[in-house]
Symmetry: C2
Subunit: 436 residues, 2 copies
């Protein structure tokens, strides 16, 4: 991979400066200085005149996208087994597949497919579930590191209600496995970070949650999990946690719900207002996964409420409950689901706009990584160059119209270049660039 | 184009023999005799041994798909203007675009893009709205004829509530335009048929509906229109037709609702039980357009009820309220929407199964063309060969699993060959074959 360096991209630049506002700069310059964005300019300031200018012609340049919730081992069965709800789906399709990742040959083969797909996409950052296997998780981290993507990866913890071969023996064993994994990967990677990953309350005993919290306090490593996805799941959590006032409260009581513990919770379809207030107060990120929530018949999350309350929301593909890895598609799905929610459930909650969906897929989720997902000055320089010339049309289109079309119509064929922290990590039709 | 002829395709063959049953035949033979399917065989009967065998290897072979409702002139703005409901969307985006088709140079350029897309898709049959322009509609019909696709095309009729430049002066003028169009195209085409196309009740005066019915009676030509898409539209129809008991009844009273008048009605999102009974009794086809119904915030049609009542249902892309031209995608959208309907509105209406969605996209909609959309003996030989080798996976998959994945994951890259009535009309990466 090329070293971080300083350069300028010229083209039609689109980014968010808030969740209400898309900034669109035709034929403009975005400056990268040692991996950091120095802003977007109609005319290039003289101090950057010595930088090399990469002219992207009529292409669109957008910030790299963040996939805030996805499961690498489930890539293998994307588009399959779409006939069940969450709990049955886990037992029938997911757990049997995840068991296979004890076999490192299988893990390497399957994870390589996932990583290759991610590399070709418009995603520059991702937060990823692996499986419970320490060695398999390391295989995934090795592959991701080579890709140049910036990611968090979680070895999954689960010590109850799973299946033979996919359940840790006790909270202590599970904690020891986390510690082993952290120790063996510490300092190994530049682009790949660890994230603590209790699968969800039904998979984790109180004792395991306590162990994970201890590790979190010691290390400061963030946490990801699932919250309030499916009515059957929520009822089960109530039974498992009789002393919690809600599903959110169960995580909160375990000390794994924001505050000093950076946290992503996926789904949040059926939260009550009290839970939303707690999420806001604790600074928990919500990973909104609309396609997954359709496929598993979970429902439609109240994204309008999340936005109104100022909750941090990003988008997740949730492979393989979501069958598409595309975060552009997740933006379209977000808008579409919000329309159905408005029409069928609550006309007080206005549909999500294009501006809001674009924000969630870029700066919204990117914020979990710091200043990521925008071309405002000081942001890390993640950029994707999109070539929409194959999406033919007979009439003149504005840049905003072309962006809207890309959100609805693009696939990997439209992704031409991808930069992460100023490094060019992917170029269409070229051999993938690697760290080596 | 090659002449209709007799041959055998060998591969993994999937088709419906009812809306509940997928027939899957690994490494089998499907026989085409002069454009007609003679059935699927595990071993090739000796009487067909002289036929040439085209070996499709490990590819899947499915019946050609039918797009039962789409608007050719709207292809130009697919993926744009997704922020409005039906009536505003028509006035803001659709009507201004459709006006442009008075210009034949523009019409030719724009329609060519639509037809090229359709050719590369898995669709072998389509029922298409053009615009109100006679000459523009003929341009579209010329292009479609050359493509080898089997289609119905409708010159749109509208004499009220449209916009200047897109409204016929009177019922008489509108009827004269239909007659001119029919006269000028009669006998011109082998693959392209005319269909009477009153846009929808709000665009057509009672006098125009009466004229169209007169033409329908004289010619026996079928009819397509829109029904019960959006609550605002339905209320407007009530005001416009005070003597009708329902939106369906308004078409029925006009004599343009099945019976001796073959009819397709798109959408049918908000039908009451009485309307569904009338549709069943009259043999009206419903074109279910799930993606359109999401994008325009219309709602989710009760497809489970349609199926239970034995109503004829096919799938429509409804370009450009639907942004995707893919009928495989329409199958996935049908399943997904039915899940949300089940979860959010009525748990008595079970989600649509893969079998049912596949049936609707093949034989369900195909039935409007006769014996079309299956490989049962006697069906017209429309076949699509799908190559899923680029959709990588690490594990063994059954043919049914591969078909499920294709429904969720395929785009035009997976369509390798397409046969319509026994003619090879498309081969990936080859120059498109034409009639000339």
């Amino acid at each position: 991979m090329q070293k971080k360096h300083s350069f300028v991209l010229k083209g039609n630049i689109c980014y968010s400066n808030s969740n209400k506002k898309l900034v669109i700069c035709k034929d403009s310059y975005v400056v990268c200085q040692e991996g950091i964005c120095k802003g977007v300019f109609r005319e290039l300031p003289s101090k950057y005149e010595t930088y090399s200018i990469k002219d992207m012609g009529d292409h669109l340049i957008i910030p790299g996208l963040t996939d805030l919730h996805t499961h690498a081992p489930q890539y293998a069965f994307r588009g399959l087994g779409m006939d069940l709800e969450l709990l049955e789906w886990l037992n029938t399709h997911t757990f049997p597949e995840e068991k296979k990742y004890a076999d490192l040959t299988y893990a390497k083969k399957a994870y390589q497919m996932f990583v290759d797909d991610l590399k070709k996409s418009a995603v520059s950052r991702a937060v990823i579930f692996a499986t419970m296997h320490v060695e398999g998780t390391k295989v995934l981290m090795d592959l991701l590191e080579t890709s140049g993507l910036e990611t968090y990866v979680g070895k999954v913890s689960m010590d109850r209600n799973a299946q033979e071969g996919l359940q840790e023996e006790s909270a202590e064993t599970a904690a020891a496995a986390i510690r082993q994994w952290l120790q063996e990967t510490e300092g190994h990677y530049e682009h790949t970070k660890a994230i603590l990953t209790p699968r969800f309350i039904p998979s984790c005993s109180d004792a395991l949650m306590a162990e994970i919290q201890k590790i979190q306090k010691e290390t400061g490593i963030p946490v990801q999990s699932h919250l309030s996805e499916n009515p059957g799941e929520i009822q089960w959590v109530q039974e498992l946690c009789p002393n919690s006032s809600s599903y959110s409260d169960a995580y909160y009581q375990a000390g794994l719900f924001g505050g000093t513990c950076p946290t992503i919770m996926a789904h949040c379809v059926w939260l009550n207002d009290e839970e939303m207030s707690l999420i806001k107060k604790q600074g928990v990120f919500i990973a909104h996964c609309p396609q997954s929530n359709i496929n598993l018949s979970s429902g439609i999350a109240p994204v309008r409420k999340f936005l109104d309350k100022g909750i941090s929301v990003g988008l997740g593909s949730d492979m393989a409950a979501g069958y598409s890895t595309s975060v552009l598609r997740a933006m379209a799905d977000t808008i579409q689901c919000s329309k159905l929610r408005w029409r069928l459930l609550d006309t007080d909650q206005k549909p999500v706009t294009l501006e809001e969906a674009f924000y969630m897929g870029t700066a919204g989720g990117g914020a979990f990584f710091g200043k990521v997902g925008s071309f405002l000055e000081g942001y890390e320089f993640d950029a994707v160059v999109l070539d929409d010339s194959a999406l033919v049309h007979p009439q003149e289109l504005s840049i905003r119209e072309r962006l809207e079309r890309l959100i609805y119509l693009a696939d990997d064929r439209q992704v031409k270049y991808k930069f992460v922290k100023g490094n060019l990590i992917y170029e269409k039709n070229k051999k993938l660039l690697t760290n080596e």
